[in-house]
């Protein structure tokens, strides 16, 4: 069974979704993230959906649920990289991602996490992108 990898960088968990998400993989990601937040004490989660060419109601609801779960586990979630066509479609579908914070890209997402948690070890975008 395929899994979406979760990277641990300082106090942040970084998830970059690079596959066409089946419902099962989306739910598994939700469970994995809950466990990883508790195991690592992460204060922030960045979910990069740049590679997703659609977000349907199931994936949208999963993103909302992940944001809710991480909130009660004392972590902030930012969904980044939504494509314009995906945003247009999502709103027309009737989904507004309640409770989900968004940013245009990873860099702005990290900045948002750092602003919300000034004492957290939030990596720089260079650290995330690698050498």
């Amino acid at each position: 069974m395929e899994r979406v990898p979760v990277l641990n960088l300082g106090d942040v968990l970084l998830v970059s979704i690079q596959i066409d998400l089946s419902d099962e993989i989306a739910l598994r990601l939700q469970d994995d993230l809950a466990e990883r937040i508790v195991a690592t004490g992460a204060q922030g989660v960045i979910i990069d959906i740049t590679a997703l060419d659609i977000v349907d109601s199931f994936v949208g609801r999963t993103l909302s649920t992940i944001a809710g779960i991480s909130r009660v586990l004392d972590a902030d979630t930012v969904v980044v990289g939504m494509r314009p066509a995906v945003a247009i479609t999502l709103v027309e579908l009737g989904l507004s991602l309640p409770g989900v914070r968004t940013a245009l890209n990873v860099e702005q997402g990290l900045r948002r996490l750092q602003a919300a948690r000034p004492h957290a070890a939030v990596p720089t975008v260079e650290a995330v992108a690698g050498p």
Binding site: S57, A85, V86, I88, E92, G94
Partner: protein, 140 residues
């Protein structure tokens, strides 16, 4: 009214029997939408609508199939997808087409949301006789 030419064989049929088949339907609709020269936004809309309708066929209809066809009206090309299941059918169609109406655990956006994302939308259903949803998205 969509004239459904059922004498013509479908360009592609995707069986919907499990979770992974929803992904396969999306992939097949993506190829058809690219072939019909839909814009990126329209591709995204029809793929998303197909994802919702395939999931409906699976969760409410107990599975079924998606039949894809490239269509043309002389001026524009488009993609037509029919979702067929042999499930219990829909008793109250008006309610089923209302935002937020759900008999399952979802958000109730499947049918109503999918309808907003396509150019033509037709549904044939009767209690005990399954459901057939036909959608068309045209190039602009």
């Amino acid at each position: 009214m969509i004239e459904a030419d059922r004498t013509r064989p479908a360009d592609g049929i995707v069986r919907i029997a499990g979770d992974q088949d929803i992904v396969r339907v999306r992939q097949a609709v993506r190829s058809a939408a690219v072939e019909a020269r839909l814009s990126l936004v329209d591709q995204t809309k029809v793929i998303t609508a197909a994802s919702e309708l395939a999931r409906n066929a699976l969760t409410h209809g107990g599975g079924g199939r998606a039949e894809l066809r490239g269509v043309s009206n002389g001026r524009r090309s488009g993609v037509r997808v029919e979702f067929v299941d042999q499930g219990p059918g829909i008793t109250d169609l008006d309610a089923a087409l209302t935002d937020g109406f759900t008999t399952g655990t979802g958000l109730g956006l499947g049918l109503s949301g999918a309808r907003r994302l396509v150019d033509e939308f037709e549904i044939e259903t009767a209690p005990g006789e399954g459901t057939r949803v036909t959608v068309v998205k045209w190039s602009r």
